[in-house]
């Protein structure tokens, strides 16, 4: 069952080699094995069935496998070899800011004082963490130009929800019932989803022919029943919303508020601040801008920042530095009658706070600005080298990422999906594809500042090689990936007949 080891070997970072195989862990299970030693009981053992009644206790646990420690370790070590990752190479997922995750931060988050402490321990016994939280909140406020920050939301989408809820609370406080939230057609899916989750009617605002939002379009959609506009700046096309200030005025003019999606903040560090644009509330993605790892799908952290007008509505608890009169240190405040309440059982993803804090301290003001500058430099460099083969969706200078369309592939029968899969053969994780929705066959590339010039050149060579292949050998591209353990996986089939859990093969 051999496939050709295709593609010029000198392009990209990958060829073919030995790949480990490993079945679902349940197929490795053998009755009686274990990878765990239960501590010897130092107290009289209680018989659960007697204690709880026979009907309340289970007789066994189906679907938990039985393996020794070495087998478990091998299983997951082998699985890990099937992943691409930032530590293995460029991972230019647009809008995801896959920058390097510093190793120091991983070690710091594992310090017992952070990793082995409890959210409900007395504040007096948690001054180290509370102080770090307060400091990080202050730094994020300064970086964004907001007045107050709460770290509680567990990810960007929950930050959006928190923001929308504060906006609702603000209007209701004024006795206003506003029903609509305006969202540009370039927005990330979480924006409309968050607004809808809080009961708002979502209205899309079309972006202009230049890919950015125009005051006229906003003015036209705006009305007294509009609670807020959600805007992402730079937007998901990597373009700076240059009319943002005017747009905020328009929304404010009719009593609305402006939500800022901070997922693209990496482009602005030390350059400009959403708070100075007129944004009333925004979220941060610590797992993007502030280098905390994505973990294969989280955990992230989505702090929310607000202007003073919205401060009364921040989620509780709030970490507060004690007044002179109260002594020194930090306390937890719950007394916010207008707060939207809690979003998390604890304080949010604290482990990510430690990492983000460490990152901020490693960079300082100059380093933060350097991030934005080099991220933007990298994106513009890529676009400059790719634009002939992959014409940009909108021909304007970009910020931290660039979006190209599939126009360059016309007539080849090769799609954006094919290009993405073919890039894998060259050792690159593909960019984000088919987003934003308004760009046909969008390829959204965010290199981040972590990428070196040579690394970018390699990626460009791979992209250009694929473009050539699309003309000269389209089948090869349509059949990609070829070098991976798996050929292209059938997503349609997965959705049509969902198999969502392992089950033993019916004995033949």
């Amino acid at each position: 069952m051999s496939r050709p080891d295709t593609g010029p070997e000198d392009v990209g970072y990958a060829t073919r080699g030995l790949a480990w195989e490993e079945p679902p862990i349940f197929e490795r299970s053998r009755p009686g094995r274990t990878g765990f030693a239960v501590p010897a009981a130092d107290v009289p053992e209680v018989e659960p069935a007697e204690h709880l009644g026979p009907d309340a206790v289970r007789r066994g646990i189906p679907d938990l496998p039985e393996l020794s420690e070495v087998e478990v370790v091998r299983h997951f070590t082998r699985l890990s070899t099937w992943n691409a990752s930032v530590d293995l190479g460029l991972y230019p997922l647009g809008s995801c800011t896959m920058k390097y995750n510093p190793k120091l931060n991983e070690a710091a988050a594992r310090l017992p004082g952070f990793a082995r402490s409890h959210p409900l321990q007395p504040a007096a016994l948690a001054q180290g963490i509370l102080g770090l939280i307060a400091e990080l909140e202050r730094h994020l406020a300064e970086v964004s130009g907001m007045d107050r920050v709460s770290l509680q939301p567990a990810a960007g989408a929950q930050g959006e929800l928190a923001g929308i809820m504060m906006i609702r609370a603000y209007h209701e406080q004024r006795g206003e019932r506003r029903l609509r939230v305006l969202i540009p057609d370039t927005a990330h899916g979480t924006n409309p989803a968050s607004a809808a989750l809080n009961g708002y009617e979502v209205q899309a605002v079309p972006s202009g022919p230049d890919g950015i939002l125009h005051p006229e379009a906003v003015a036209e959609a705006m009305g007294p029943d509009v609670a807020a506009l959600m805007i992402t700046n730079p937007n998901t096309l990597g373009l700076f919303e240059e009319h943002v200030a005017r747009i905020c005025e328009i929304v404010h003019g009719e009593g609305g508020l402006v939500y800022g999606d901070g997922a693209n903040l990496n482009a602005l560090l030390g350059i400009a601040r959403p708070g100075d644009f007129g944004i009333d509330v925004m979220h941060f993605n610590l797992h993007k801008t502030f280098s905390t790892p994505h973990g294969g799908g989280g955990p992230g952290a989505g702090p929310v920042g607000v202007k003073n007008v919205l401060a009364p509505y921040l989620p509780v608890p709030v970490v507060r530095r004690l007044e002179e009169s109260e002594g020194t240190g930090f306390a937890l405040d719950y007394e916010f009658p207008h707060s939207i309440g809690r979003l998390h059982a604890g304080f949010g993803n604290v482990g990510m706070f430690v990492r983000a804090f460490a990152y901020l301290r490693s960079l300082g003001p100059d380093g933060l600005r350097r991030c934005a500058e080099m991220a933007v430099l990298n994106a513009n460099y890529l676009l400059a080298r790719l634009r002939r083969a992959y014409p940009p969706a909108y021909d304007r200078p970009v910020m931290h990422e660039c979006v190209v369309s599939d126009r360059g592939l016309e007539g080849t029968g090769v799609t954006t999906m094919d290009v993405a899969k073919r890039l894998i053969d060259y050792g690159f994780h593909p960019p984000t594809i088919y987003f934003p929705l308004i760009v046909h066959g969008a390829i959204m590339i965010e290199p981040t500042e972590s990428e070196s010039l040579e690394g970018l050149d390699r990626f460009v060579e791979a992209m250009l090689a694929v473009a050539r292949e699309a003309r000269d050998d389209p089948e090869r591209v349509r059949g990609a990936p070829h070098r991976t353990r798996h050929g292209r996986l059938d997503e349609t089939r997965a959705a049509r007949q969902p198999v969502l859990r392992w089950q033993p093969e019916p004995p033949a």
């Binding site: 989803a193 939207i340 003001p365 513009n380």
Partner: protein
Amino acid sequence: MRYIPHTEDDVRRMLAVIGAPSVEALFGGVPDKLRLRRALDVPRAVSEQDLWRELAAAAAGNANLDTHDWFLGAGIYPHFTPAAVDAIASRSEFYTAYTPYQAEISQGTLQTIFEWQTMICGLTGLDVSNASLYDGASAAAEAALMAMRVTRRSRVVVADGLHPHYADVVRTYLTGLGAELVLGSRAPDGRAASVAPLVDDATACVVVQQPSFFGPVQDLPVLAEAAHRRGALLVVVVAEALALGLLRAPGELGADIVCGEAQSFGIPMGFGGPALGFLATRRAHVRQMPGRLVGRTTDARGRAGYVLTLSTREQHIRRERATSNICTNQGLCLLMATVYLALLGPLGLARLARLNLSRAEYAKARLREAGCTLPYPAASFNEFVVRVPDSAEAALGRALEAGAVGGLDLAPHAPEIGPALLVCTTELAQREAIDRLAASLGGGRAR
């Protein structure tokens, strides 16, 4: 800057290719009046060495499992994590990867999620599990919203014993949706009183925590009956997932949705986060589920593999009509829990749960002898309410002097009980530590 490779020479060459005179020029798209014309007012950069010293000092400012005996649970539980769990979670192929959108190069993450989904099905007794949610509290909220979608109803009945912070989060998530939240009361034995009177034809679901926040193991069949009679769903919330190693699977007792917090499965307490929300349900409701789902499929050559699936439920496809707004979830925590469960296996988990139970029963006896009382007779797992002779604050102070974080002062959550603590005993709470705790909480008032 060690995280950024660019040399000034690199920058020059790149600008030449771009055709820009300077890096500054690249920001021409940002209107001048929106530019920040000063340096950010954040502290100067420090070296890795100095930063480490600073962070170690901050960490040292917190009591933790290494500095104190620990009897505080209440939603985040002090358990032992085998070293193999962090060894795997420290593989950068796992922790520096993104959500597995590109399946062919993300099979490690995808197969792990598929295995996790399967394990959760076994533990809950249900058909489908998602990848993860933020934490137990938001999982409870998402479950309530899901029940509202499934039933097209808007009334949520919460039986007594739901973690107060979970209740807060459910309340938060329900705002703006015209939903009604009704709280049940507590029976004298500490379990939830019958919710039947509260359930009507507008009721989407009955939400009950198992075991109760106060410790007692709830009577699920009765609650299921009350819910189902009126066409409502039963949502069982589990905050101490280790209890599932010992309790009958809620799915077998009538639960339609089982969700909660799986931090107990090998995830450090971490001052409450990152944690691991989970949610499982019956196949019939799968299209109303929130969160990521991984499914098995085949590749071009007919070889089995895994992909994210049923994404038409999700925000990136459905936008405002999505079942939830969740995107980034708790992937790495899910990996840790999967490794943890694979190490323990069914017997390890059951025996560990039994040790937790035995320690709790031992602690109850010691505490009684020490002059404390146990207001709730209903059977519990590894956590229970203790009424102390004097004040909760004083008792916790004595415990602290004895080197223990002695439990949770219930005053803010259930003043009606009187001076009381919620005390938790896991495999980490050794007999001698329990003896010391009993003595200190009792304050020498032994009977």
